[in-house]
Structure formats: structure tokens, C-alpha cells
């Protein structure tokens, strides 16, 4: 049986964690003051790939499109999934790309990787762009079966199939979990609630072994790293960056404050008489005979 050949797509994103993120007084992100890091959803995608490595044995390649300093995102991902190969697609021409043009770059990169891919992983969505489109669009360009919202999965190495559990979150109806079977190759986007289950002793031993290896590799990550500019990648210049983007950001404005819909009565939180009144009003609201 051939070992699995896996790719993970990751993204360098603003670090929204407390202490690293900086907001302007008006509540918007201060990008200059905010640090960058491996996006949390990208991290989960790397974790999902690591599951296959521990469970089935696999070669893992991680790739990203971004500025030269996005190599730290690749390093962090390598530490998570013990990647063998790191690819960074970095060129000024790629900048300003919308999801369609980004997908073209990523697709070209993945097709350039050694051997045919069995599974490609990506995060649910980026925490800055938040479109959730790049994964499925890359999948479609690759011609891989796309399975989204994956909360767990397993591979059948003999049949060369994957069975994935997916969580569908819908409005106005209860959520649904579907189990989908598909022949490899597949493209999975990993849900934030994804969990890897390592149950047997041998899996836990493999887990620790690869984790140590990952740590060593990530320390010397530049040895695994290859950076591609547009010519090295060999992608059609008119299909990437701004030229290949159907959509543009036309303008960014502050969302106008809505008119006050209620007239608030202000109470002092340290005044016990005020607290007594507030509680009385809360209880009144709860006991009101409102027909809804």
C-alpha cells in the first residue's frame, strides 16, 4: 500500500489573541500594531493532517501564499503536523488577489508538488478575511471531491477512500451531521470543532515520535522550505493577483451607528438601591404576560 500524500494550505493572519491584537479607539483593527501568526483555522487543518500521519503514515507538504515573512506560519504548521516539505508562494504580483485568483496560485502550487496528492486540507475560514471560499475554490480547480465542515475522518487505505463526518450549521432548522464517503483524492476543509482521536497505544507512541521529529524540523524549518516567485511557480500571470481577480474591494467605511432604538435608564452598579430597582424591573419583565 502506498503511503498517503497530503498537502495542507495555511495562512498567515493577524493574531487576534489578547495581548497581541491592537484595536484603534473606534473599535477597528490596528494592523500595524497587531502581530501575525499562523491562522487558528489553519492550525486545525494541520492538526487534521497530522492525524493521518500518525494513523496511516503519510508525507505532508504545507503551502501558503503570502509575503516573505509568512514563512513563520509554515514553521508553526510544521511544528503541528511534522511536515516534510514547506512551500511559500511569494511574489508582489500575487498581492491583492481575491479568492478565485488565490485558488489559482494554490492549485498551481499543489500540482507542482511531488507525486499526486491524496488529500488536501484547509481551514474552515481565515479569521481576517473570513470568506471560507478559498478552500472549496482550490478544490474545484484541482478537480478534487470537496468535503466541507469536517469534524472527523478516516481513510480506508485498501479501498483508497475517505469517510468524513461533517457538521452542517443552518439557520432556522436544527444542525445536521452527515457522513460522506468519497474515493481519493479529496479536499477537506476542517471545522473548528474537529478532533483527532488517538485510541491505541501504538498510535500514541507514533504521535510522540512524530511530535519530537516535528519539533526538531521546525527548529530548522528553512531546510524544508522552498520559496517560489511567479516565474518559478509557472502560473499564468493573468489569472493571479489583481489581474485574475473578478472582485475588488471598492470602499471601506464605518458602519453607521444605528439610531438609538431604546432610551436607556442609567443605574450605578455600586449603589445597592439602584441594584434593588434593577432586579425588580428584571423580575417584572420576566413575569409580564407577553403573547409572542
Amino acid at each position: 500500500m502506498e503511503p498517503l500524500n497530503l498537502a495542507v494550505i495555511v495562512k498567515l493572519e493577524p493574531d487576534f489573541s489578547e495581548g497581541n491584537v491592537s484595536y484603534k479607539p473606534d473599535g477597528t483593527l490596528n494592523r500595524n500594531e497587531t502581530k501575525s501568526t499562523l491562522g487558528p483555522h489553519s492550525g486545525i487543518a494541520a492538526k487534521a493532517a497530522f492525524y493521518a500521519k500518525v494513523r496511516y503514515g503519510a508525507k505532508i507538504s504545507v503551502c501558503s501564499m503570502g509575503p516573505p515573512w509568512a514563512d513563520i506560519a509554515l514553521q508553526q504548521a510544521q511544528q503541528t503536523c511534522d511536515a516534510d516539505v514547506l512551500h511559500l508562494y511569494s511574489d508582489r504580483i500575487f498581492a491583492g488577489a481575491d479568492t478565485l485568483a488565490t485558488a489559482e496560485t494554490l492549485k498551481t502550487g499543489i500540482e507542482k508538488m511531488e507525486g499526486k496528492m491524496d488529500i488536501v486540507f484547509s481551514g474552515h475560514r481565515a479569521s481576517d478575511g473570513e470568506t471560507g471560499q478559498t478552500g472549496p475554490q482550490t478544490a474545484w480547480k484541482l478537480g478534487f471531491t470537496f468535503i466541507g465542515n469536517v469534524i472527523s475522518y478516516d481513510v480506508n487505505l485498501e479501498k483508497r477512500t475517505v469517510v468524513a463526518k461533517c457538521l452542517l450549521t443552518l439557520n432556522g432548522v436544527p444542525n445536521v451531521i452527515e457522513e460522506i464517503e468519497a474515493p481519493l483524492p479529496v479536499f477537506l476543509t476542517i471545522d473548528p470543532s474537529y478532533k483527532s482521536n488517538f485510541t491505541t497505544v501504538s498510535q500514541r507512541i507514533a504521535f510522540e515520535k512524530y511530535q519530537k521529529e516535528a519539533y526538531e524540523r521546525a527548529r530548522n524549518f528553512k531546510q524544508s522550505l522552498k520559496v517560489f516567485n511567479i516565474d518559478e511557480l509557472g502560473v499564468d500571470k493573468t489569472l493571479v493577483g489583481l489581474a485574475g481577480s473578478p472582485t475588488i474591494v471598492y470602499q471601506v467605511e464605518r458602519i453607521p451607528k444605528g439610531k438609538a432604538t431604546r432610551q436607556a435608564e442609567v443605574f450605578d452598579g455600586s449603589n445597592s438601591e439602584h441594584i434593588r430597582k434593577v432586579v425588580a424591573k428584571m423580575r417584572e419583565a420576566l413575569s409580564a404576560m407577553v403573547i409572542k
Binding site: 472549496p136 443552518l170 452527515e178 458602519i255 436607556a264 420576566l286
Partner: protein, 395 residues
């Protein structure tokens, strides 16, 4: 080629377990409002085309027309019973490009029709992915999570697309999306490249629409419309993907059955674990379900695993990217009141906010504003609630 070759708005309908999802009717409602105005302004007769795929779904067509569709394209096939991305993407794309369908929708433009002008999907677990793959197949642009749409002629200057020359783009769909903070609105346009070296026409202009934002129209049983049955072309190879099981999961969070909801936001940040415990105690006293603001669900604040996996989860988010609720009592703790949160709670009967900042927008959205830090205020509230409860029991 002109924009006349691209016509109508196609709205991709979602249904699950025999029910059309509310967001689909909301999209038809917004399409109706946009196109009544569009057709009047441009003296045209372009249509709202509902596209629905599934098995035994013929009965849905009438409902879609009542809710504003001029035409329904119905692909009814046993193999479309389950949602499989590859098959659904191909069938939606077939429908979007089908000239026969277009000629039935608007016979006068049968020859000219090339692709839809606009296409709408829902920004949920189904539509988000389908919109992405369909728009790659149709080779056009897509904006996600939209909560406002405007159509008009625009003159745009873009360094790459128009070589820096002011260029008129007729009937352009302005797609507004709130950013993650809820404070900024980004307008996305899907525009042709007019620069000769990269000349390209990008239609349909696609977007996914946030559920719960737009109102459906009042259904009118007297509305009439064209129902078109489409025989999908399904490839043998695509049938290898199988949906093995489909289970409805009961959510661990249920806002509907409680009279009160207590929510917290980033104001817990000084001591997340301790502060969440305070919120839980208050919720217990009020017999309330616990909600959160969107940033909390991103698990960026340090909290213990047990607290974080119980309370900092997407199922508890109140707002446009979570639940829209209308309890009798809503308590917002340490929530500044970004628009995206307000949209989820503004229908509450009575709103109490606890916040140390009197300038935060939540003050405009509440009936009672308690000025103070949650650490100080909640224990007092809990104590007073217990006291007043006892009085009632004693009486």
C-alpha cells in the same frame, strides 16, 4: 458582447428534511425588492429565477413563486436527494448556462442570453461552499456574507482592471459585507477587466447572503410564475461519492425554551474563568440560557478547557453569524454592541446592559444601563435576586 447578454438574478434555494430554509425566502424577498426597482429604472423585464435541486421537490415551486420568484427551475432527480458538492455544483452550473431555460424565462432574449447577471446563495454551511465551487465553474467573482445590496451604474477607475481610466460599469451590484469586528463595512464589486491584455467578462456577479438579514415578502397565493423542470446530466463517476448517513443533532444550546438570555462579550477578558462563572451564576438565578458575542467564540481569551468548551462555542453566538433571538429579558454583559451582535438581540422585550463604558453603542440598545464592572455588579445582582426570590416564597 454587452451586459445585455447577462440577464436575471438566479437564487439558489436550500431545503432540508422537507422544509425550505428561511434564508432562501429572505433572498427571494430582497431579490424582489431589488428587481422591482431595477426593472422600473432600466425599463426592462428581467426575472427572479429560483433554482432548486432535490428529489420529490415539485411541491416547493408554488411556494417559491408566492414568495417572489418569477420562474422556478426545478431539477428533480433521485440522485439529487443528498447534497453532494460535485453533483450539485455541476447541475447548478448547467442550469445557469442553459439557453433553453433562458428562452423560457424571457423569450425575447433567448439568442442573446449567455449567463445570469447575478446569482445569490445563502452564507451558511451549504451555500458558502456551493457558491464557491459554482463561481469557479462559471469563472466569475463572489463576495461572501453580504448584508446589503444596491444596484446602479458606476464609473470606476482601477489600475489593473481599467488601466487607470474611468470606466462606466452598468447595472453593477454593490455588495456590502460587515467585517469581523462588526464596525467596518466593505463594498465588494465584481467587475469586468476592460484592460485589453487581460480583457475578461465576469458574470454572474455572485454573493452569499447572511441568514436573518433580509425580510421575505408577504407570500401571495395569487402570484403566477413559470415552472421549468430540468433534467440534470449526472456523470457516473460523480456517483462514487456517497452520503452514508444524515442525522439531525439536538443542539446543546436552546434559546427558544427560555424566557431569559444572559450573554457576555470581551469584557470578561481580565479574568475569563472567574467572570464566566459569575455569568453562569446570574443565568442560574434568572433561569436563563447563556449567549456570547462573536469574538468570544474564536477562543482567543485564555480560559480553562472545561469553561471554553462549554461556553465559548459558536452555538452560543448571538448575532448575524449566530442566533437571532427575542427573549423576554436579555442581559448583555461586557458587550460593546457591534452591529452584528445588535442584529441578533434587538427584538428582545427588555434589555439590560452591564458595562463600565457609558459611550459603548450597547447603551442605545438597552432599557437599563448599569454602569459598572461585571466583577462588581453581578454579585450584587445575584444577591438581590436571591433576596427578592425569598420574599416571594415567604409571601
Amino acid at each position: 458582447m454587452t451586459e445585455e447578454n447577462y440577464r436575471h438574478v438566479y437564487v439558489v434555494i436550500e431545503h432540508i428534511d422537507g422544509k425550505i430554509l428561511p434564508v432562501s425566502l429572505e433572498m427571494l424577498g430582497e431579490a424582489r425588492r431589488l428587481f422591482d426597482d431595477f426593472n422600473a429604472r432600466y425599463s426592462s423585464n428581467e426575472k427572479i429565477v429560483a433554482v432548486i435541486l432535490g428529489n420529490n421537490i415539485k411541491d416547493f415551486s408554488k411556494e417559491l413563486i408566492e414568495y417572489g420568484a418569477d420562474a422556478v427551475v426545478c431539477a428533480d432527480h433521485p440522485e439529487l436527494k443528498d447534497l453532494r458538492n460535485t453533483i450539485h455544483t455541476k447541475v447548478i452550473s448547467q442550469i445557469a448556462l442553459d439557453k433553453e431555460i433562458a428562452s423560457r424565462i424571457e423569450p425575447d432574449y433567448a439568442k442573446e442570453f449567455k449567463k445570469p447577471r447575478y446569482i445569490f446563495f445563502a452564507a451558511d454551511s451549504i451555500g458558502r461552499h456551493l457558491s464557491s465551487t459554482v463561481l469557479v465553474e462559471l469563472e466569475s467573482g463572489l463576495a461572501s456574507d453580504i448584508n446589503k445590496l444596491v444596484i446602479h451604474d458606476m464609473t470606476v477607475t482601477h489600475q489593473i482592471k481599467t488601466e487607470g481610466k474611468p470606466t462606466l460599469f452598468k447595472k453593477t451590484l454593490e455588495m456590502y459585507r460587515p467585517d469581523f469586528s462588526g464596525f467596518l463595512w466593505t463594498t465588494i464589486l465584481c467587475l469586468n477587466n476592460t484592460t485589453p491584455s487581460i480583457k475578461r467578462e465576469y458574470y454572474p456577479q455572485g454573493c452569499s447572503i447572511i441568514p436573518g438579514v433580509f425580510e421575505p415578502i408577504k407570500p401571495d397565493p395569487k402570484r403566477s410564475g413559470e415552472i421549468i423542470f430540468y433534467e440534470p446530466k449526472i456523470e457516473e463517476n460523480d456517483l462514487k461519492v456517497k452520503v452514508l448517513s444524515h442525522k439531525i443533532v439536538k443542539s446543546e444550546v436552546d434559546f427558544e425554551i427560555r424566557k431569559a438570555v444572559v450573554s457576555f462579550g470581551r469584557g470578561i477578558k481580565d479574568a475569563p474563568d472567574e467572570n464566566i462563572k459569575l455569568v453562569v451564576e446570574l443565568a442560574k438565578q434568572l433561569d436563563a440560557e447563556i449567549g456570547i458575542s462573536l469574538p468570544i467564540s474564536k477562543k482567543l481569551l485564555p480560559a480553562s478547557q472545561a469553561i471554553s468548551s462549554t461556553y465559548m462555542i459558536p452555538a452560543r453566538v448571538i448575532g448575524t453569524s449566530g442566533s437571532k433571538i427575542s427573549p423576554m429579558l436579555y442581559v448583555a454583559i461586557g458587550i460593546s454592541g457591534a452591529m452584528q451582535h445588535i442584529a441578533g438581540m434587538q427584538d428582545s422585550e427588555f434589555v439590560v446592559a452591564i458595562n463600565p463604558d457609558e459611550n459603548s453603542p450597547i447603551k442605545n440598545e438597552c432599557d437599563i444601563f448599569i454602569n459598572g464592572r461585571m466583577e462588581d455588579v453581578i454579585p450584587l445582582l445575584v444577591e438581590e435576586l436571591k433576596k427578592q426570590q425569598q420574599v416571594v416564597q415567604a409571601g
